[in-house]
């Protein structure tokens, strides 16, 4: 994968991933995270808790934002931080789009930094997981 260079990044630049949220993926996430709450894989349990369907783990959405940033930062970059809020539920089995938009490009403390707004959108465009991030990148 091509390395993103700080010099080439522009404020307003957008990055995104579209991901599926099958029950199988949520089960793999349950194993990876140790979060075995049944609202994420047991249809009857979820409906018994007044949910429309099983729902995507908030933490999986948070870590998908981490992957978007990691792929943007590349092997020579570094994620300084990311922080997201789980504001809305995402029903499983619907695609989600993980996105980032560069809001600021600057140098500080010897680092070449980029701030981004990040989030996760449903198919209908509703934002469920707004947040922000800072990534440091190599300079030419």
């Amino acid at each position: 994968m091509a390395q993103t260079m700080w010099d080439d990044v522009k404020e307003g630049q957008e990055i995104s991933l579209t991901e599926q949220t099958s029950s199988q993926r949520l089960v793999i996430w349950a194993a990876a995270s140790g979060d075995f709450y049944q609202i994420h894989y047991d249809d009857n349990f979820a409906k018994g808790n007044n949910l429309p369907d099983i729902i995507v783990h908030g933490a999986l959405k948070g870590m998908l934002v981490g992957r978007l940033l990691d792929e943007f930062a590349g092997d020579k970059g570094w994620i300084e931080m990311w922080d997201v809020s789980y504001r809305g539920m995402d029903k499983a089995r619907e695609d989600i789009t993980i996105w980032g938009k560069v809001t600021k490009k600057y140098q500080e403390g010897g680092k070449n930094l980029v701030d981004l707004d990040v989030g996760v959108k449903k198919v209908d465009g509703t934002e469920t997981t707004p947040g922000r991030a800072t990534v440091s990148l190599p300079k030419k």
Partner: protein, 157 residues
């Protein structure tokens, strides 16, 4: 619906700023690969130790945000945070912040200490909620380095 609280209880107020006992997290090759698979990573440094070494790493690399799993012990009491009595029995994950500080590798063993930094009552569409913000510091046992800090928001209603 749980009983409404006019204010935080004295026990809740006393818990703010307190830290729980350290919890041991193990970062294993299996754990890294399962996390990488669930999140959809493709970078071989997260799946193949030889590829990670060829890229200059000492072992299989943990993707950002992966800090292993707490060691499961069916005979230990649960809970890594600060406990208090609460009428709110249902919990939702409100948010996650991650501050990666060092690369984490397969074989690392981390000590995680969680501190309750803020506790407040609020009202949302689920009625009255208790919002707790915690910070966890992960320290690698082998070299004493803080490898990451995380911030978590929990909503109880």
């Amino acid at each position: 619906m749980p009983e409404e609280l006019p204010d935080l209880t004295p026990e809740m107020k006393a818990a703010i700023g307190k830290s729980g006992p350290p919890t041991t997290y193990e970062v294993t090759s299996l754990g890294i690969r399962t996390f990488g698979r669930a999140v959809g990573y493709k970078n071989p440094i997260y799946f193949d130790a030889a590829a990670a070494k060829a890229a200059g790493h000492k072992d299989l690399v943990a993707p950002p945000g992966y800090l292993g799993m707490p060691v499961f012990n069916p005979n230990a009491t649960a809970g890594r945070g600060v406990d208090f009595e609460t009428p709110f029995k249902r919990n939702l994950n409100g948010g996650t912040g991650v501050f990666p500080l060092e690369r984490v590798y397969a074989g690392d063993v981390l000590d995680a200490v969680t501190t309750l930094v803020e506790l407040k009552l609020d009202r949302g569409r689920l009625g009255q909620m208790l919002i707790r913000t915690s910070e966890t510091v992960y320290t690698r046992k082998s070299d004493g380095k803080v490898v990451a800090k995380t911030r978590g928001t929990g909503l109880s209603y």
